[in-house]
């Protein structure tokens, strides 16, 4: 290739990258999913425990997750992720709600409704409900709400029997072992409709109605891990780590340029490309950017330089042996290839172990590290080499290569 076409192609690459940075930079960053540690939110690990002698199985847990999903949808808790972990755990992640803790506290209720007689004997359970609705209590707007429920056929029969047997006596309405109210039965109720009174607010009544409609969880859930990050800490962390990334990047760019001269410039262009590629791939894969993930990205910049350093040191050696520039680039690359390959594979092994054994943010770190390693290898072995050959057409002055 002659000098003019080399200049043309090199300028083209730089222009395309500048355009990418300018036009794609913002959309990429905006489409990035931020982890809870960067945007604020709550992550709770719930341990399923057996309920009234029923063991926790894969089946019951799946059912529980289904019910929880149903509740989340019906309550309109925004940006909530629910998933199973292992065989007996459920993870709930809620981003940015004003009071995520209260939301989780409510969601994890077993919501087992029972009607007890005076002796504490269970008469009817919530299993036989067909509907539950929040409604205003009384004609005047006292601000109090209650929940109207309807039973299915079996429930209607049981409830009719129960109210007939307990005429004039109180029946306790018990939710998860706690009595809500105990109205006295004035007449037998045979139509299968009843009202749960308990001086609820509109919100409480609505929540209870949703819990009853979605049904009782087949397991009881206990919080065993909880991480809640306030919105200000998340925003702070994001801003600070972006600043750190920019400063670190500039330091590395200056160092490479100062130490390796012309190849240093090639390395710098490669590094910018590395940044675009890694962020772009992360956006495409919809991977979540976490705080350790950003640390992994910044560290990745340092490591991405490694391949360049190995190649340029080789290049210098070959030049000192008296080879021509083009021959030196070729043999320098051939010799550096396996070094770069072997050294990167070991880091990939670590990232894989982290991914499979880690959870949450640590996984984010492993993902960025993996994408970073693959991207930096590909860029160093193809793009950087191509740029070096292009640059060698501009000038053969070996002083520019640090000799």
């Amino acid at each position: 290739m002659n000098k003019n076409s080399s200049i043309f192609f090199t300028s083209l690459v730089v222009l395309v990258m500048a355009a990418l940075l300018f036009f794609a930079g913002k959309p990429i960053i905006n489409s990035m999913n931020l982890g809870l540690d960067l945007r604020g939110g709550l992550r709770v690990v719930l341990q399923a425990q057996e309920k009234s002698g029923k063991e926790v199985t894969k089946d019951t847990l799946q059912k529980a997750v289904g019910i929880l999903r149903d509740r989340v949808d019906k309550l309109g808790v925004k940006e909530t992720a629910l998933y199973q972990q292992g065989t007996d755990r459920v993870v709930v992640e809620i981003a940015g709600t004003s009071d995520p803790e209260a939301a989780v506290d409510m969601l994890k209720n077993t919501a087992e409704l029972e009607f007890w007689d005076e002796q504490g004997k269970v008469l009817v359970t919530g299993k036989h409900l067909t509907d539950a609705k929040a409604q205003s209590a009384g004609s005047q707007s006292t601000g109090e709400f209650n929940v109207a429920i309807s039973f299915d056929k079996v429930g209607t029969k049981q409830f009719a029997d129960a109210t007939t047997a307990n005429l004039g006596k109180p029946i306790a309405i018990v939710l998860d072992g706690k009595a809500i109210s105990a109205p006295t039965v004035k007449s037998a109720i045979t139509d299968g409709n009843a009202v749960i009174e308990g001086s609820f607010t509109a919100k409480e009544a609505e929540e209870l109605a949703v819990l009853l409609r979605s049904g009782a969880l087949p397991v009881s859930l206990k919080v065993i891990e909880k991480r809640s990050i306030g919105p200000t800490l998340g925003a702070d962390s994001l801003q600070k780590s972006i600043n750190a990334g920019i400063v670190g990047l500039i330091a590395i760019l200056v160092f490479m340029l100062g130490y390796y001269r012309l190849p240093g410039l090639v390395a710098d262009i490669s590094l910018v490309l590395y940044g675009i590629v890694v962020l772009g791939v992360m956006a495409l894969l919809h991977s979540v950017l976490t705080l350790p993930g950003i640390a992994g990205f910044v560290l990745g910049i340092g490591m991405a330089v490694d391949a360049n350093v190995i190649i340029y040191e080789r290049l210098k050696e070959e030049l000192r042996l008296g080879k021509t520039l083009v021959a030196a680039i070729e043999s320098g690359y051939n010799r550096a290839f396996w070094t770069i390959f072997d050294s990167n594979i070991t880091t990939l092994i670590t990232a894989a172990v982290l991914y499979f054994l880690g959870t949450g943010p640590i996984r984010g770190f492993a993902v960025t590290l993996t994408i970073g390693i693959i991207a930096s290898m590909a860029i160093a072995l193809y793009f950087t080499k191509w740029m070096l050959v292009m640059f060698s057409n501009f000038t053969k002055n070996q002083k520019l290569y640090g000799i």
Binding site: E225, V298, I310, T339, A351, L357
Partner: protein
């Protein structure tokens, strides 16, 4: 003169001297494990103005949280307690808000004891699997003597970092494990670059004894070793200075580990391979 080989015993002793205090500390004081390992709660609040540690402590005492440990970093206060439920956490926050003017909720973590136990097991398992995988890979790509020397250098770096954390009683949480594993990967990475050079020089079959060969290989990869660790140090120091408190120990761990990894690839791994392999 083959500096790195001839003086290797001095560097072996130096390494032992650096690691020994940490090792003693590990055996006597152990590690200061955080809630991720032993369970409990930690609340982070930002209190603007001039609230002192003593103020916050006395306020917690009134809430009957005498056992709470409070530390601060600038305006940020960290309250470590036994496991609190949501209501108790809320009470602490409400109480602080009445006592101090500008209280801002930053974060609250609670970890149950069972999770802590699991993490400890997982951490050991992860480091073990990673080390084993490296050993296998190097044996496959090089030969077992390289593998053994590399894993010894890796052990050197792990012990050094663990020792320093034990001596200063810095808190160890789950990001620490991630940092340790990164060090394991990086340390091997560094070692492989030198070993790769030794392997290449061995193939050339020059009339040269191993002392000279290993020394020459180290010299040839010295620039690379230093420059790579330098660029990583740039990135890490930037994170340390500008990256905020949450990342501090995560970054410190890697900083120590990376420098140790560079050192050990030159002064531990390569000379050890020389000792394992014999002189001819």
């Amino acid at each position: 003169m083959h500096f790195f080989i001839e003086k290797r015993k001095i560097f072996y002793i130096l390494s032992i001297l650096i690691i020994l205090p940490g090792l003693v500390s590990l055996c006597t004081k152990g590690l200061n494990t955080g809630i991720d390992f032993k369970g409990g709660s930690i609340i982070q609040v930002k209190i603007a103005g001039n609230a002192s540690l003593a103020d916050v402590r006395s306020s917690l005492k009134e809430m009957k949280l005498e056992k709470a440990e409070v530390t601060r970093s600038g305006d940020e206060f960290f309250i470590r307690t036994n496991e609190l439920n949501q209501q108790q956490t809320q009470e602490v926050m409400n109480d602080l808000k009445t006592k101090f003017k500008n209280v801002e909720f930053r974060s609250a973590d609670t970890v149950g004891a069972t999770i802590g136990k699991e993490l400890t097991q997982k951490a050991f398992l992860a480091v073990f699997i990673a080390a084993l995988a490296m050993l296998l890979y190097i044996t496959f790509r090089f030969e077992w003597k390289f593998g053994v020397a590399a894993v010894a250098a890796e052990l050197h770096d792990i012990l050094l970092v663990l020792g320093i954390f034990s001596m200063f009683q810095w808190e160890v949480n789950s990001p620490f494990i991630a940092a340790m594993l990164t060090i394991v990967g990086y340390s091997i990475n560094d070692t492989i670059v030198v070993f790769d050079r030794i392997r290449e020089n061995l193939k050339m079959k020059r009339k040269e004894d191993h002392a000279s060969l290993v020394n020459r290989s180290i010299m040839q990869s010295l620039n690379r070793s230093i420059n790579t660790v330098l660029t990583c140090v740039f990135a890490l120091v930037a994170l340390l200075i500008f990256g905020g408190v949450s990342l501090k120990y995560f970054v410190v761990t890697m900083l120590i580990g990376f420098v140790a990894g560079c050192y050990s690839s030159i002064f531990v791994a390569s000379p050890l391979w020389y000792d394992l392999h014999g002189k001819e």
